[in-house]
């Protein structure tokens, strides 16, 4: 479990992207990973499988909920939906991430001393 997290950019990055993607619309696992890949212009090489442990963590913490349904392509899919708790968590994580990113950017910027 730890290792899977370390394969990410940083711990929790994948979870954050999942939550953000689910915020736009509920999706099932396969659609979710395709969406993340496409949105990132394939810059992020996500191993499709790594999505599932992350989804289980989110399920356990009740940040998302899952329901079996039939997709438009007539496939039995388990659709994930963001919960209210998940939306709150996402907001918090995003603001934390932005602060971190800003800090790193400032340090890396040329001319910074």
């Amino acid at each position: 479990m730890k290792k899977a997290e370390q394969r990410d950019l940083f711990p929790g990055a994948l979870e954050m992207m999942i939550l953000q993607t689910l915020k736009r619309q509920p999706l099932h696992g396969y659609a979710l990973v395709q969406r993340i890949k496409r949105t990132s212009n394939d810059l992020l090489q996500i191993e499709e499988g790594s999505l599932y442990p992350a989804l289980q963590r989110l399920l356990k913490e009740e940040l998302v909920k899952a329901e079996w349904s039939i997709s438009s392509t007539n496939r039995r899919v388990r659709t994930y939906k963001l919960t209210a708790k998940g939306a709150k968590h996402l907001e918090h994580e995003v603001s934390r991430f932005e602060k971190m990113l800003e800090g790193i950017t400032r340090v890396l910027a040329p001319g910074a001393s």
């Binding site: 479990m1 899977a4 099932h28 696992g29 396969y30 191993e47 499709e48 499988g49 790594s50 599932y52 442990p53 989804l55 289980q56 963590r57 399920l59 356990k60 899952a66 079996w68 392509t73 496939r75 039995r76 899919v77 388990r78």
Partner: protein, 154 residues
């Protein structure tokens, strides 16, 4: 009560997960087949992109586990398995323990019954008398050993 619910619904969680991953692979395969790939190639490609299925399932299940107790049970099972694998070592260990416990139990019951043999109303004795009681006990022990024909350098 969350953990209790989780404990009982775990099988369902695991089944959901396996089914979900299967569906994921199926969907991927179908999509690849639609682009003109043969089904066999598509299956291989889908698995390649997915990564290690078993590992993924395992990692996903770990999330629901109760690490400390389950690790302890796993260690216990591992220990038992190793004992079964090395019967010689097991036999020596078990015999050593059995012998040790048996000897201790015997000695305890022996000394206990010997001391009780000369039972006095100890509670009413003065400290001085208790000293003499101790002496009496040693005497009883010696007498008993003599009777049983056991020689001890007491």
């Amino acid at each position: 009560m969350m953990w209790l619910k989780q404990l009982f619904s775990r099988r369902r969680l695991y089944n959901d997960l396996s089914e979900e991953i299967n569906e994921h692979l199926e969907e991927k395969i179908e999509e690849l087949v639609a682009t003109g790939m043969s089904r066999k190639e598509a299956a291989a490609a889908a698995r390649r992109e997915f990564g290690n299925v078993t590992l993924t399932e395992e990692d996903s299940r770990t999330v629901w586990r109760w690490p400390s107790i389950e690790n302890f049970l796993m260690d216990l099972r591992y220990g038992l398995r190793m004992l079964r694998k090395n019967p010689g070592f097991t036999a020596v260990a078990v015999l050593t323990l059995a012998l040790g416990i048996a000897v201790n139990a015997t000695m305890f019951s022996l000394v206990s019954s010997l001391l009780r043999e000369g039972s006095y109303p100890t509670r009413t004795l003065s400290p001085r008398q208790i000293t003499s009681l101790g002496a009496m006990q040693t005497m009883y022990l010696r007498m008993w050993l003599l009777r049983m024909n056991i020689a001890l350098p007491i």
